[in-house]
Amino acid sequence: MPEHTFILNGESVTVDIEDDVRLLWVLRDVLGVTGPKYGCGLGVCQACTSHINGKAFNPCSVPVKDLRPTDEVTTIEGLPATVGRELHPMQEAWLEYDVAQCGYCQPGQIMTAVAKVRQAREEGRDITEADLDEIRNVCRCGTYHRIREAIVAGARKY
C-alpha cells in the first residue's frame, strides 16, 4: 500500500493508504482526528474545513496523494498551537458569544473564520459584512448571526 507523509498539527505523520482516499477519511478513520466533521463529502457544507499551509480547505475534496511531506495540515485540534495558546482568540470569541448550538459545524466555522480574517488582513483591511456574506459553511441550527458577531469580535483580539 502506498505511503503518504505530511505534517498534521505540527507533527509529521505517515499513513499507508490508497492514493485516492480523501484526506478527511485519512484524518478521521485512519488517524482518529475527529474535529473535522463530515457533512456532505462534496466540498459544499464546509463542516470539515481545516487549514493547509495556513489556508482554509476541505479535506473531503483532497486525495491524500496530493499532499507533500512538507505540507502542514492544521485541524481544529491544532489551531490553538498555531498561536502558542490554550485557545485561539477566535475560539475564545466563540465562547464569549456562546455561538455553538449542536456544535457539529463549529470546528469548520472557526477554521473558516480564521482564514477569512487572515485574507482580509492580507488585503490590509478589516473584516466586512460582505466578507461574512461570502462564508459558505452551513449551520443547520442557524447560529449564523452569532457567528458573524464572534468573527468581528474575534478579529479584534489578535
Binding site: G43, L95, C102, G103, A115, R148
Partner: protein
C-alpha cells in the same frame, strides 16, 4: 410535536407548610456509597404530609411494554426516577433522559441543579442517559417539552441532595442545622466559621437505605441561577472539536459502513451483480444485501463511497413511483375537507396555500454504531425516542429488550429527524447480517433523497368579515400523512386521554392539541385531513404550526387590508391574550413599526402562541431587483430579510441566553421555509442532493440585523421554546414579502416554482464521488 391545554401542573399549586405557602415535594435518597438522590420523572409528587410515603405509580399505556418487564421494574422502588450523584471531587453528576441535539437542555438542566444544590455550574456534569424502558413514555424528546417536564423533578432531586449535605455537615461539625449555610459547594457555620466542602461530605451524606424525603424548593424570588444568562456547558468541547458525536465514538471493530440505496423513494433491491467484485475493492471487508439496499463496510468511509458507486444492482419500484409535486398536490386537493357554505352577500377572504415537501436533514446525517452479537446488541446513536428504538430493534433482532443496550450520543442537530431511529435500526440489521460491529453513516445525498421529509400540505382558509369585525375563520389543512411511528410521549397521550377526541385519528388529535388561533375571530374551525402514506415523513421543528399559522397570519394581513386597518393595530385589537399583546407591542416599538421604507422593501409582523409561550416577530425584507439578483456561485440569493426583531415570553426563561439561541435558530428556519428551502419531487424521487441544492439559510441570506428580546418572567414555570420561533418567523417573513410586493404569497418556499437553481445529481449511482480539486479552492 406540540402540547397544550396541560392541566395545572403540581408545582403551580401552593401547599401550605408552616403557614407560608411554600412548595413541598417528595424526593428520594438512594442507597449508595456516595450521596445519591432521586426524584420521580413525569408525575412529580407533591408531599401530602411530612410523614407520608408513597411509591410513585408507573403512568401511561401499558400495551407497548411487556407486563413482565413492568413487574420487574415496578419492584424497584427507584426504577422510574432520575438521579443525581455527588462525588468526593465535589462534582454532581446527572444522566438526563432526553436527547441533546443543540437545544441546550444539558445546560438548562445543569442550571436547575446548580440552583437548588447551591453548587457552581462548572461542577455539574450532565450526560445523556441510555435508553431506560422503565421510564415508559418519559424518554421522548419532542414538543419543546423537556424543560416543562423536567423543571420540577430535577430541582426536587437537587434539593434532596442539598438537605442531606446540610444534615451530614451538622453531624460532622456538631452544630445545629440552622447555623449552617450552603454556598457554592461549601457549607459554612455562622457560629464557628468552620466549613466543609460538598466533596468532603459526599460519602458521609450517603445513605445505606433508600427512603423518601420531603423537600421544599426555592421561591422564584430567591433564584440566583435560574433566569440568568449562561453559556452552554459543552461550549468548550464544541469549539475545540472535542465534543463527541456518534461517528466520533470509537467502538472496537466498528468499521465505516454505508448503504447503496435505490434510485426512487423506498425502492427495493431485486438483484446485485457484483458483490464479490465489490468485496475485493481496496479497504472493503464486507458487502451484503439488506432490506433497504446493499451495505458495504470498509477501512474508511471514502472507500465505502467508492464501493457504493461500484455496486451494480437492479432495483424494484419504490413506494411513490412516478409521483411528482403536481400529482401529490392533486391528491391533496381531492382530500381537502369542505369549507362551510358561504352566503353570497358576506364579504370574505378566501385563500389556498401550498407548502412543498421540505427536508428535516440535520448537518450530521443519519448515523449509528451497532454491535450485534448472538445474544445481545449494543447501539450508539443520537435518539429522541430511544425506548421505542430499543424495543423495535430488539424485536427485529429476536432479542429480549433487556439484551439490547442503547446509548444516546450527543446529536449534531435534529429538527425532528432524530425522533426516528432509521439509522440505528439499519445499523443493527447490517451488523447482524455481517456478524461484525458497524459504524453506519448515510451519505448527504441519501439524507436528502431517502431521509425523512416534512410532508407537503395545503391550507384552505376562508374568513368572513363585516363592520370591521371578523365573523368567522375556517381553515382546512390537508397534508401528506405525517409519520408518528417514533412512539409518543406522555406529552400527547396524557393530554389526548383528557380531551373529547376519541373518534379522531392520532394525527387529528395532535393537530387539535397543537393548533390554535390567537385572535377573537368569531366562530373558528381548524381541521386536518391527511392522505398519502407513500413517503418517509416526520415533523420538522414543529409539525403543523409553521404552515398553519403562516397561512393564518397572511389572511390576517389581507383582512386588515380589506378593512383598511393597520396590520399591527388590527392584530393588537383582536388578540385574546395580554401576553401575546405584550410581545407584539415590544417588537412594534423596537423595530419602529410603520417606519418609512423604500418601494420593494417592507416590514411584516406576526405573533405566535404555543406551549404556554408567546413569540412575536417583526421582519424587514428587501425584494428589490438589485438584491434578488445578487450573484453568488451555486447559491440561491433571492429576497433578503434585512432585519428581524423578536420578542419572546416563555413564562420563566431558565437560561435567557439559550432561549435567544433557540429563537435565532427558529428565525433562520422560518426564513428558509418561507423563501428558499424545499424539495422538488419528480418521478418518485427528490431532486435535491446537497446543501447547494437544498437552500437552507446561508450567510448570504442571514439578516444583518437581529434583535431578540426575552420578556421579564410572566409565570413561575417555564414554557416550551425549541420550536416556537419557526412559525412566528415564517409568518412575519411571508407577510413582509406580501407587503413589499403587493401580492399575498401562496406557495412555499417562494422559489419553488422558479427554474431549478441547480443541476440535479444523478440517481444512479445513488451518491456522487467526492471532488478532487480541494487544494485549488483553498483560501
Amino acid at each position: 410535536m406540540g402540547e397544550q391545554h396541560r392541566p395545572e401542573r403540581p408545582d403551580t399549586t401552593s401547599v401550605p407548610s408552616g403557614g407560608i405557602g411554600r412548595r413541598t415535594f417528595l424526593g428520594y435518597v438512594v442507597a449508595a456509597s456516595t450521596l445519591t438522590v432521586a426524584a420521580p420523572l413525569g408525575e412529580t409528587l407533591l408531599a401530602p404530609t411530612e410523614a407520608a410515603a408513597a411509591v410513585p405509580s408507573v403512568p401511561g399505556p401499558s400495551e407497548i411494554y411487556d407486563l413482565n418487564d413492568m413487574l420487574t421494574h415496578a419492584a424497584l422502588p427507584t426504577a422510574n426516577l432520575i438521579t443525581i450523584r455527588l462525588d468526593s471531587d465535589g462534582t454532581a453528576s446527572f444522566a438526563l433522559p432526553r436527547a441533546e441535539v443543540g437545544q441546550g437542555i444539558t445546560t438548562s438542566s445543569a442550571m436547575l441543579i446548580a440552583e437548588e444544590l447551591d453548587l457552581p455550574l462548572e461542577k455539574i456534569r450532565v450526560t445523556l442517559a441510555d435508553a431506560r424502558p422503565e421510564l415508559l413514555f418519559n424518554q421522548l424528546t419532542g414538543g419543546s417539552n423537556t424543560t416543562i417536564s423536567t423543571y420540577t423533578p430535577i430541582r426536587v432531586a437537587a434539593a434532596v441532595a442539598r438537605g442531606r449535605l446540610l444534615r451530614a455537615a451538622a453531624l460532622e461539625l456538631g452544630e445545629a442545622l440552622d447555623a449552617l449555610t450552603a454556598k457554592a459547594g461549601v457549607i459554612t457555620s455562622a457560629v464557628t466559621g468552620k466549613s466543609l466542602t460538598y466533596g468532603e461530605l459526599a460519602e458521609k451524606a450517603a445513605s445505606v437505605a433508600t427512603g423518601q424525603v420531603s423537600v421544599t424548593l426555592k421561591e422564584p424570588a430567591d433564584f440566583k441561577v435560574i433566569g440568568t444568562a449562561r453559556g452552554r456547558i459543552d461550549a468548550l468541547e464544541a469549539v475545540t472539536g472535542r465534543k463527541k458525536f456518534a461517528m466520533d465514538v470509537h467502538v472496537p471493530g466498528a468499521l465505516p459502513t454505508m448503504v447503496c440505496r435505490p434510485p426512487t423513494i423506498n425502492g427495493t433491491v431485486r438483484s446485485v451483480e457484483n458483490l464479490d467484485e465489490v468485496r475485493a475493492m481496496p479497504g472493503i471487508t464486507d458487502a451484503v444485501r439488506i432490506s433497504t439496499g446493499v451495505a458495504v463496510r470498509g477501512r474508511t468511509f471514502g472507500q465505502c463511497i467508492d464501493a457504493v458507486r461500484a455496486l451494480k444492482a437492479t432495483w424494484g419500484p419504490g413506494t411513490a413511483e412516478d409521483a411528482s409535486d403536481d400529482t401529490v398536490r392533486a391528491e391533496l386537493r381531492k382530500a381537502e375537507l369542505p369549507l362551510p357554505a358561504l352566503d353570497l352577500l358576506t364579504k370574505s377572504v378566501d385563500a389556498r396555500f401550498t407548502f412543498h415537501f421540505a427536508s428535516n436533514s440535520a448537518l450530521e446525517t443519519n448515523c449509528a454504531i451497532a454491535d450485534v452479537r448472538e445474544d445481545s446488541a449494543e447501539i450508539w446513536a443520537s435518539l429522541k425516542s430511544p425506548i421505542t428504538a430499543q424495543e423495535d430493534i430488539a424485536t427485529k433482532l429476536g432479542l429480549p429488550v433487556g439484551a439490547v443496550k442503547v446509548h444516546v450520543t450527543e446529536g449534531g442537530g435534529s429538527f425532528g429527524r432524530k425522533l426516528f431511529y432509521d439509522a440505528a435500526a439499519e445499523a443493527a440489521e447490517i451488523s447482524k447480517a455481517m456478524g461484525k460491529p458497524v459504524k453506519l453513516m448515510w451519505h448527504r445525498t441519501d439524507d436528502f433523497r431517502q431521509g425523512r421529509t416534512h410532508p407537503m400540505s395545503t391550507s384552505r382558509v376562508r374568513a368572513t368579515y363585516a363592520l370591521g369585525q371578523v365573523l368567522t375563520y375556517d381553515q382546512r389543512h390537508t397534508s401528506v400523512a405525517t409519520d408518528f411511528g417514533h412512539g409518543v410521549g406522555e406529552i400527547i397521550t396524557a393530554e389526548a386521554a383528557r380531551l373529547p377526541v376519541g373518534d379522531l385519528t392520532f394525527s387529528e388529535t395532535v393537530f387539535t392539541l397543537t393548533q390554535q388561533t390567537p385572535y377573537d375571530f368569531g366562530v373558528v374551525t381548524q381541521l386536518l385531513s391527511e392522505t398519502d402514506k407513500r413517503f418517509n415523513t416526520g415533523s420538522m421543528r414543529n409539525i403543523y404550526s409553521p404552515n398553519v399559522r403562516c397561512a393564518q397570519e397572511l389572511v390576517v394581513d389581507e383582512l386588515a387590508k380589506r378593512m383598511g386597518k393597520d396590520p399591527y393595530r388590527f392584530r393588537r385589537a383582536c388578540l385574546k391574550e395580554e401576553r401575546a399583546r405584550a410581545v407584539l407591542d415590544k417588537v412594534a416599538e423596537l423595530a419602529e413599526w410603520g417606519r418609512g421604507m423604500p418601494a420593494g422593501t417592507a416590514q411584516g409582523i406576526a405573533v405566535h402562541p404555543e406551549y404556554h409561550a408567546y413569540v412575536a416577530v417583526l421582519a424587514e425584507i428587501d425584494c428589490r431587483p438589485e438584491t434578488t439578483g445578487r450573484e453568488i456561485p451555486d447559491a440561491y440569493t433571492g429576497p433578503r430579510v434585512t432585519k428581524v426583531v423578536c420578542a419572546v415570553d416563555v413564562g420563566l426563561a431558565v437560561n435567557p441566553r439559550g432561549l435567544q439561541a433557540q429563537m435565532m435558530g427558529g428565525i433562520m428556519d422560518g426564513i428558509a421555509i418561507t423563501l428558499s428551502s424545499g424539495l422538488h419531487l419528480t418521478d418518485g424521487h427528490f431532486l435535491e442532493g446537497s446543501w447547494d441544492n437544498y437552500f437552507y439559510t446561508r450567510q448570504w441570506n442571514t439578516p444583518p440585523e437581529l434583535e431578540i428580546v426575552v420578556m421579564p418572567p410572566t409565570t413561575e414555570t417555564p414554557g416550551g421554546a425549541g420550536e416556537l420561533a419557526v412559525a412566528g418567523a415564517m409568518a412575519a417573513v411571508a407577510c413582509a414579502y406580501g407587503r413589499a410586493t403587493g401580492t399575498m404569497p401562496t406557495t412555499f418556499p417562494l422559489n419553488h416554482g422558479e427554474p431549478l437553481g441547480f443541476e440535479p445529481l444523478p440517481t444512479s449511482p445513488p451518491i456522487p464521488a467526492s471532488p478532487t480539486d480541494g487544494l485549488s479552492r483553498a483560501f
